[in-house]
Symmetry: C2
Subunit: 212 residues, 2 copies
C-alpha cells in the first residue's frame, strides 16, 4: 500500500503523543530516543529519522510544549477582578491535564535555563503573560476593584504567586489539592483588593500623604 | 608519596566544586561524567571510581545541593513582620551566589519530580520551610502587624510568592534586578499587612460580616 500524506500525519501524531507521555512521566531529564521508542513500540532506528540527535528531540519537545500550551483552552470571562481571577486560575494545576502540562513546563525550565536563546524565549513568553495580566489589573482598577498602583508591578506579583503555587502543588498534590490552591489564590486577591479599602486614609489621620 | 586522608578529602572537594560548576552552567540536564571530567581536567575513567553510573552522579549532585543550601548563611533577625521579610529575602536570588544556587534548585525540580522518593523529599523540605514561615507569621500576628487568619495558610501563600518570583528573576534578570525583587516582596507584605487595617469594617457599613 502506498504511503499517503495521511499516514505521515498519523505517524507524526503518534510520535508527538509518545514524546508527551515520556515528558509527563519522566520530564526532560528522562527524554531519550530509547524512552520515546519504547513508548511508541518502535525501534530507536526509526526515530533517528525524525530526530538525528538528542538535541533535535529536545527542541521538538520544547516546540510541542509551546504548541500544546497555546492550544490549551484558556478559561476567560467575567470583568475586572473576576476576569483576573479566571486568568490566574487558568495557570494552576487544577485538573489532571493541567497538572501534566505544568509538570512538563517546570521540567523544561532546566533545559531552557541552560540555553541563552531558549531562556530569552521563555522570558519573552512570561513577559507576554504579564502584559495580559497587566491589562486585566488595569481594568479591575478602573472598576475600583483594585487599588491604584502600577498595574505592571501588580501583574508581576500575581504571576509570581501562581507560578510558585504551581510548583508547590506539583511537589505536594495532597497538601495542595485544587480547593486549597483556589483558597490561596483568593486570599492573595483579597489582600490585593483590600489595599484599596485601606486608602485613602481617614481624614482624621491628617492630610499628609502616607509614603509608599 | 603515600596517599593521605588529606589527599582524599582534597580530591572530594575538587570533585564537588566541579559538579557544582557544571550544575550552575548547564543544570542537571547537562550533568554528565564527561562534563564533570572536563571541568576537573581529569579522565572520565577516574570519575567512574566516584560515580559508577549516571544515577550516582545525579544522587551526589542532589545531596551536594541540599548540603550547600543547609550551609548557606541565612539572614535572620528582627522581630515580627521584619523577621518574616528577612526570611523571605533569604530565598530570593539577590546576589550572584544566591542566583547560582537558585538556578541549580530550579534545575533540580525536573530530576526531583521524576522520582517519587525524591519528590516526597522535596515536598518535606518545603513543608519544613513553611513551618518556619508559619511561626514567623504567627509572631507578626501577635504583634498586631499581620491580620488574624490561619498562619499556615499565609505562610503557604508567602512561600509561593517568593518561589515564583525566583523563577521569574532567573529567566529575566534584567527585568527583575534585586531592587525590583525587593519592591515586589514589599508590595506583597504590604498587601498582607493592610488587610488588618481594613478590618473590622467601618460601623457605618452595617454589622453583617462580609463574606470571604
Amino acid at each position: 500500500m502506498p504511503r499517503t500524506k495521511g499516514d505521515h500525519e498519523a505517524r507524526r501524531r503518534d510520535v508527538s503523543e509518545a514524546v508527551w507521555r515520556v515528558l509527563a512521566a519522566h520530564g526532560f531529564g528522562g527524554l531519550t530516543l530509547r524512552a520515546v521508542a519504547a513508548e511508541l513500540g518502535a525501534t530507536t532506528g526509526l526515530l533517528t529519522h525524525y530526530f538525528p540527535a538528542k538535541r533535535d528531540l529536545v527542541a521538538y519537545a520544547l516546540d510541542l510544549l509551546a504548541e500544546r500550551t497555546a492550544a490549551r483552552p484558556r478559561p476567560s470571562g467575567g470583568h475586572g477582578l473576576a476576569a483576573l481571577r479566571t486568568a490566574l486560575l487558568g495557570v494552576l494545576p487544577l485538573t489532571a491535564e493541567a497538572a501534566a502540562s505544568n509538570r512538563i513546563w517546570v521540567s523544561s525550565w532546566d533545559t531552557a535555563l541552560s540555553d541563552p536563546e531558549s531562556s530569552d524565549d521563555y522570558a519573552g513568553k512570561y513577559a507576554q503573560s504579564r502584559a495580559k495580566l497587566r491589562d486585566l489589573v488595569a481594568a479591575a482598577q478602573q472598576l475600583g476593584e483594585l487599588p491604584a498602583g502600577d498595574p505592571e508591578r501588580i501583574a508581576a506579583g500575581a504571576q509570581s504567586f501562581v507560578l510558585g503555587l504551581t510548583v508547590q502543588a506539583l511537589f505536594a498534590p495532597t497538601a495542595f489539592p485544587p480547593r486549597r490552591q483556589v483558597e490561596l489564590l483568593d486570599d492573595y486577591l483579597a489582600s490585593l483588593a483590600s489595599r484599596s479599602v485601606a486608602t485613602p486614609p481617614p481624614p482624621s489621620r491628617g492630610d499628609e500623604a502616607v509614603s509608599p
